[in-house]
Symmetry: C2
Subunit: 295 residues, 2 copies
C-alpha cells in the first residue's frame, strides 16, 4: 500500500472535520481564534489517523468515527498549548509557528487549552451521526480517553516530566514519563479505533501491545530528532531537551542504542498484529513510518 | 424543612466522595496533592447539591447520582485554580487558604486544573454503580456538562471577562459574562439532576428557568459580597473586582438596585417551580439561601 497517500488522505479528512468545528461562531471571537490557531496549524494528526487505521483493521468504516478520532487531536493540541507555556516548558516555536501564548498571551492560551480539552469530551458525548455506535460503547471510549489523558495518564506524565528536570537521571522515571506523557494517549487512540468497531478482547489486546510499542518508539525518535533533526523540518526548536536538562532515551543510552531500541519496538508492534489480515496494513506502515519520519 | 442541615448533610456526602477519589495513589504524588489541596478545601458544594436536590425534586434517589454531582465540583475547582493563576486573575487567597499556585507553583497548578477537568469526564463516563442509568442518558449528561463548561459556556465567559477588564462598561458584555462564566454550569447542575431522574421536557424547562434565575442571583450576590463582604468569612480577598476594574452588577447599578434584582430573580426561580410538589422544597430553600448567604 502507498502509506504516503494514505496518510495525506486521512489527514485531510481530519483537517476538514477540525476546521468545520469553527463554522459556528465563537464568542468572544479571540477565544475561537486562539483555539483554531493551534488546532489548525497542520500537525501530523498521528493520533486520529491511528484511530481510523485501527478501526479499519477491525473491519470498521473510518468515515463513521471521524468525530471520535478528531477528539484526540483536540486533546493533543490542548496539551501542546499548555506544555509550551512559560510556566511549563516555555517554548516559542511549535508546528513552525510562534506558540499560542506568544500570539494570544498566557491567559488566553490557558483558556484555549481548557476549551479544547472540554470540547473533546463534547465531541465524544455528542458525536453527530454516531447513532450506529451503541451508547455504552461511546461511554467506554470517552472513559478510555479520559483515563489516558488525565491524572493517571498524560497529565501525570507531564507532572513527572516537570519534576524530573535537573533531577538525577533515573530510568524508572524516564519510563514512567514516556508511557504516560505520550504513550497512554497513543495507545488509547489505537484502542478506541478497535472498541468502536466492536473488537473482541483478543483483538484489543493485540492493539494495546501495538499501541504501547509504537508509542514508545515514537517518543524515542522524538528525542533523537530533538538532537539530530532540523528545526525547520520539525517546526519546533531542536536541542531543547538538552537545554532544559531533560531526561531522554538518547541522553541515557546514546543515539545508536536508542535507534536500535526503536527498531526493535517497531518489530514487536508488527508482531502484535500477526493475527490481523491485510486490513491492518495501514497500521503496519504507520509503525514503519514512525521510525523513518523526519518531523 | 431545615435547609441548614440539608445542606450540611449533602455537603458531607459530596466531600466523602471527593476524598475517596484520592484513595488510589497518584503518581507523581505532588500532582495528587495539588489536586486534593483545592478540591478538598471545603467549598459550599453548591453545584453538586443543586444536582442532588433537583434529582430529588424529580423523584430520584440522590445517592444514585453522587459521582455525577461530584464531577461538577471537579470542574468548578479546576476553573478556580486556573482563574486564580498570575496570568489570569492573580489571586492569592481562595477558600481561606493560599491559592493553588502559591503553594505548588504555576506549572503544577495548571496541571492540577487540567487533571481535575479531565477526571470530571472520567467520572461522567465511568460512574460506578451507574448501571441503573441508561448509557444514552449518561451521554446526554456528559454532553450537557461539556457544553456548559467549554468554549460555548464557562470558558467563553472567562475569556470575555478577561477581555472586559479596563474596557468601557457594557451591559451586554456583563450579561454575557454572567450567563456564561457562572450561569451555564449552575443551570447545567440543575438540569442534569432532572435528566438523571428521567424528567420530561416540561419539567426540564422549569428546571432550566430555575437554574438561570438562581445562577444570575448567585453572581449578583457574589459581586455584592466582593464589595460588602468579610475577607475572613468569604475565604477570598474582597474588593478584587474594583482593583481589577471588573464590570459588575453593583458597579453598574449600585448595591440597592442589585439587591432588589437578586430578590426578583429568586422570586422568579420559585415561580418556575410552581408545578413541583414539596419534593422541590430543597431547591426552593437553596434559592432563598443564595441571597441570604454571607460567603
Amino acid at each position: 500500500m502507498d502509506i504516503k497517500s494514505y496518510l495525506s488522505e486521512k489527514r485531510e479528512r481530519i483537517d476538514a472535520f477540525l476546521a468545520s468545528y469553527f463554522d459556528a461562531p465563537l464568542a468572544p471571537a479571540v477565544l475561537g481564534d486562539a483555539m483554531s490557531y493551534s488546532l489548525l496549524a497542520g500537525g501530523k494528526r498521528l493520533r486520529p489517523i491511528l484511530a481510523l487505521a485501527s478501526h479499519e483493521a477491525c473491519g470498521g468504516d473510518a468515515e463513521a468515527i471521524v468525530p471520535y478520532a478528531a477528539s484526540l487531536e483536540f486533546i493533543h493540541t490542548y496539551s501542546l498549548i499548555h506544555d509550551d507555556l512559560p510556566a511549563m516548558d516555555n517554548d516559542d516555536l511549535r508546528r513552525g509557528r510562534p506558540t499560542n501564548h506568544k500570539v494570544f498571551g498566557d491567559a488566553m492560551a490557558i483558556l484555549a487549552g481548557d476549551a479544547l480539552l472540554t470540547e473533546a469530551f463534547y465531541l465524544l458525548s455528542n458525536s453527530p451521526g454516531g447513532a450506529r455506535i451503541a451508547p455504552s460503547v461511546r461511554l467506554k471510549v470517552a472513559r478510555e480517553i479520559a483515563m489516558a489523558s488525565g491524572a493517571h495518564g498524560m497529565v501525570g506524565g507531564q507532572a513527572e516530566d516537570l519534576l524530573s528536570e535537573n533531577a538525577p537521571q533515573d530510568i524508572d522515571s524516564l519510563s514512567f514519563i514516556h508511557t504516560h506523557k505520550t504513550g497512554a494517549l497513543i495507545t488509547a487512540s489505537v484502542r478506541i479505533g478497535g472498541l468502536l468497531a466492536g473488537a473482541g478482547k483478543k483483538e484489543l489486546r493485540s492493539l494495546t501491545h501495538y499501541g504501547e510499542k509504537i508509542g514508545l518508539a515514537f517518543q524515542i525518535i522524538d528525542d533523537i530528532l530533538d538532537i539530530q533533526g532540523d528545526t525547520e523540518e520539525l517546526g519546533k526548536q531542536t536541542g531543547s531537551d538538552e537545554r532544559k536538562n531533560k531526561m531522554t532515551y538518547p541522553g541515557l543510552y546514546g543515539i545508536e542504542t536508542s535507534s536500535r531500541k526503536a527498531q526493535e519496538l517497531v518489530d514487536d508492534a508488527l508482531f502484535a498484529l500477526r493475527a490481523f489480515g491485510d486490513k491492518a496494513d495501514a497500521l503496519r506502515e504507520i509503525a514503519r513510518y514512525i521510525i523513518r519520519r523526519r518531523n
